[in-house]
Amino acid sequence: MRRKERIDRGIKVRTEGIYAISSWREILYLVGPRALLILGLLALPLILELAPYWKRVINIMCVYAMLALAFDFLANYVGLVCLGGAFFIGAGGYFTAIFNVYVGLPFYLTIPLAGICGAVFCTVLLLPCLPLRGVYFAIVTLMYPLLATRVVEAFDILGGTNGITGVDAFPNAYLESYAIIFLVLFFLFAMRRFVNQDIGLVLRGVKDNDQSVRASGINVTYMKALAVFVAAFVGCLGGAYLAHLYMWAGLSLFALDFSIIPIAAVVIGGGGTLVGALIGTLILVPLSEFLRFFGTFRIVIYCAALTAFIVFKSEGLMVYAQRKYHQFERWAKV
């Protein structure tokens, strides 16, 4: 009788703790993939000088990556499945437009400000929904962007269906590309640190068993609100960047597409590893651009891909890749 056995690779064991710096091989093993990601992303705008349209695709991809990061964090580290990523983008976008057009601040002030104000706004509005769990929270958050669209449309505020135009653009094409790439990389590593701190442990406890966290005397709703604030901050920064990128903020910032693609990216890239969100968007967004030739058919293709991944390989690419990288499998005799 044989069974399959998974064992950590030798090099992984040798890189535990202080021994990680015992030789170049160990350092390379740990640093290698991360360096590849960072250097690869940073080099992209330079490589893509040859195809300037694709630079724009990378910018959009990074905005989706911010949203996907927020979704991954909320869903897999806090247990809140938020299907309303579009709400964050819309809030961030509209706040930036307001600060830029009505108040007149320059872009390096509006983006952080919009991030903070948008995050506060989103947290306050999502506060009543926080006690809900599971599928109910998901459905409510799905409805929020739809409601926001109807409200802006019905009361004709903030430019109504025409939106707010005339938002400043970035003065420099390189600044445009690198600003968002830096933001994405910064938040990727910052979130990773965050979930490993004490606060992060409490949040993961909330995901696993919130009754016991409550029993320990910690206010679960406060913790969840904090998590939503962090995720909303990331999302709103993405939305603020998008408004400046296209010099406009309007109703369609609340579009369902902004909610669906981050979810698909996290599923494909691997939930639970924050990098998976980034990898997922790296695959999905350029793929969708390639398939533009097919017109509406490309939605069919990537919905089919999403379903296939959820059903057959729901762990996602990064989890699979990490497993292969850190462990190997062999048949052992029983």
Partner: protein, 419 residues
Amino acid sequence: MRRSVVSVFLSLCLIVGFTLTVNAAEKPIVIGAPLSTAFLYGWDAERGIKLAVEEINAAGGVAVGGKKRLFSVEVIDTRDLEPQVPVSEALLGVEKLILEKKADFLIGGPVRSEAALAAMDLLNKYKKVSIVTTGVLTPAYTKKVEDNYAKYKYCFRNTSHVGVMIGEFAVLFDDLKKSQGFNQAYIMVQDVAHARGGGEAMKKTLTERGWTVGDMKVYPTGTTDYSVGLTDAAKKNSQVLFLWMDMPESAILLKQWSDMKSKALPMGFVNAAEQPGFWKASGGRTEYLLVNLVNAGNSPSKTTPWTMKFCDAYKKKWGLEPEGYGTSSSYMAVYQLKAAIEKANSVDSDAVVKGLEDIDIMGVYGRMRFDKKSHEIIPSLDPKEGAVTSIIQWQAGKRVQVFPPKAADGKILYPPWAK
């Protein structure tokens, strides 16, 4: 040694000669068309543009710089008419056309007003001339050009907008008042910016002209029942029902109108009723509906000598009569572009802008000139003076042009049960 020198020299000659002959074939002028091809207001423009390009290329092409260059069309689906799609998709499509497909000029869209307004800044950034020919009913588009000419001078629009359409409706309403003595109206519009704007403007205009407006109902997209509004209109004895909708559910409204035997004559801007196939689809229940087709030529009529030529050519190529209000305008935009390029004798954007401002041709829907300050096409009720809007009425399965009076093919009929 000498033989290798000779052979190198010969091959060099061959290469130079080859490249010279290759260069002799002219590069085509690329027209980029960012459209929502899965919707009526996308494929109407696509078909119009392709028909025009085919005709121009068959006649030899555009004469510029002493040579003749052909047009080529690149269509991109911007999906911007889909309700849940962000405008950034449309803008990405426009950028793809400019950066990757190397479009020299843009004709057609983006179709949604929101997207078109947002695209204006992009066009300024890349300095590409664009003629918007379908969708974009908001007056704000050309107002922006007027307010900031230096920044937005590359943007043109050769299709009508809400402001002009309201004026023409007002003239029609006056005719009805004079000939039939009507003075009770009821307004039903969709809850989108251009429809609400149209409804508000109509309400104001009608009240000024002595009509009583029973009520103005604003229906959100997705409403499936209009009974309350129709009964209310009947209670207030409304004689004319003014509509402005482009959602699919407007078909439900029209069917209910017919089933409830409403006494009000329906007229307005109704997307669903612009297609010739709609008659069959509604089982003939949309008889007597007056629809504003925004630009003449989108249904057979005798507005100018070119109109029927265009309709016949369209029918021959695509198998049905023109449908959707962007067809004739997109067709004409290609011809206007040709005239402008030939007048400026260059494809440089600034020169073509000047060219477009200066041209004056007799097109499918009247005399076509652009206003020099706002880059909007100059409208008129007389095809010899400006661009004509056509209002048709569905009579016995056909679309009969009943307005403007100088280009009418028939008179307005009234439903027998409304007497």
